[in-house]
């Protein structure tokens, strides 16, 4: 308990306290400064787009990993976890190498929002896949056979039978991915160029504020991010309960 407090709780509490250094008014001013607003907006919008993409691609990848079989599937399954294991700064660098100024394929997304988006796609890749995989594996195949025997086409089986079953898992993965995306720093910091009002996300903004010794502003925006993440964590816990409501 003491360990936890010293390491985790105390520092976070400090952030909360310092964020209202200038009172609630100061908090509000810091959070609603144009640069902060722009950073938060960009962060949220980009993260939403990225997790929406992940919802589709993650489900697709999970489907292929569970239902399909081909040579090298085991390797593919293992590399899904690469974004978990790879340091974020390295992730950013690798994307920059392929899709930046020195790109061998002539694609340059550096200093652009697309670049930031791609970095986020990289780091959030495993979340939906890993959330959906176990649920897909447990799904009662007989249900799908039953639907087929009743006349359903492949697509109908997927949308009416499989999808409702895996939806909670997809949403769970999406929530985790979103929580990760809004706080992401390392992979974004190189590729985005950190241009305020253009490619500066919330975490980079906070970093900048710390460097300029503008602590209250940094703390204020941090609290916003923190609050969002905590809400998401709670939502995920609720989702897993909701997902089990129809278990036989």
């Amino acid at each position: 308990m003491a360990y936890l407090s010293v390491i985790v709780l105390l520092p976070l509490a400090a952030v909360a306290v310092r964020s209202v250094d200038g009172g609630l008014g100061g908090f509000w001013r810091a959070v609603s400064s144009p640069e902060a607003q722009s950073a938060l907006e960009l962060t949220v919008v980009l993260s939403l787009i990225v997790v929406a993409i992940n919802a589709v691609t993650g489900t697709l990848i999970a489907w292929v990993l569970v239902r399909d079989s081909f040579r090298g599937k085991g390797v593919v399954n293992a590399i899904i976890d690469l974004p978990f294991a790879l340091p974020t700064i390295v992730a950013g660098l690798t994307l920059l190498a392929l899709y930046g100024p020195r790109s061998p394929v002539g694609v340059d997304v550096s200093y652009a929002r697309v670049g930031v988006g791609m970095a986020l796609l990289f780091v959030t890749l495993p979340f939906v896949v890993r959330a959906v995989q176990p649920v897909l594996m447990e799904l009662d195949r007989d249900m799908e056979d039953a639907a087929v025997s009743l006349g359903a086409s492949g697509w109908q089986v997927f949308t009416r039978i499989v999808l409702p079953g895996i939806l909670p898992a997809i949403l769970s993965g999406v929530a985790l991915a979103f929580a990760r995306a809004i706080g992401e720093f390392g992979s974004v910091v190189l590729i985005s160029g950190n241009l305020p009002f253009k490619t500066e996300v919330a975490s980079v903004f906070i970093f900048g504020q710390i460097e300029s010794d503008n602590i209250p502003a940094a703390a204020a925006v941090s609290i916003v991010l923190l609050a969002a993440s905590l809400l998401l964590l709670a939502a995920i816990a609720g989702l897993s309960r909701w997902g089990r409501r129809h278990e036989l």
């Binding site: 399909d68 899904i80 690469l82 790879l86 706080g183």
Partner: protein
Amino acid sequence: MSSRSRSTLALRSTALGYLALILVAPVGLVFYRTFEHGFAAAWHSVTTPAAQHAFWLTVELVAIAVPLNTIFGVAAALAIVRHRFPGRALFSSLLDLPFAVSPVVVGLALVLVYGRKGWFGGWLADHGIQVIFSVPGMVLATIFVSLPFVVREVIPVLREIGTEQEEAATTLGASLLVTFRRITLPAIRWGVAYGVVLTTARALGEFGAVSVVSGHVAGQTETLTLHVQDRFEAFDLAGAYAASVVLAILAISTLASMSLLKRRGAPA
């Protein structure tokens, strides 16, 4: 080709194609670029004094953070699963905090408490202890971000094995410590192993939090991840790529250990 296998193929290619574009190609390219000019050149880039120092500092941080978090993790898991105490659910949820917090916020938080103007700052300065902009701060940051993994892996294992074996040991006369060493620990060893591997990977790869608390003094307070950024900003791409490859190899070894553990041990 029947329509069924056509759609299977389409799905498979799309999934693999996406993975290739986002994941495999970028990482592969960096490997290529690193060894493009031969192994010797790459070795040279990665054995500069700064790079070496960064490497050993990273190892040091991991060597401290992982054992501490492992001990804490096992203890916390035991407390949560086997004992009822007020606030148990809260404690368990709090353990997920490091997952939810942005690394930069972690750094900020530590600065606010242990920095010179922080809550403990004065007291620490008076005793000549510097935490922020120095290694201890980075240790704290590393511990913070890699805290939950062992706990999270051990808890389900503990739940699954139940208390019967331990109870049997007690009825046969074993003391608490003996029961723990001979019954509990072996039973949870795979969970612990997974947790350790995940903790290590996370600790190795930490960037944002240590970036805030380190002060970026090359050759002194730079981890390998910070070193990558440093080289990049100094336009030394070769150095940056080489260090990245070292980190990537460590990451891939982590994944390989996980796969191996999965095959040899109990289900995760």
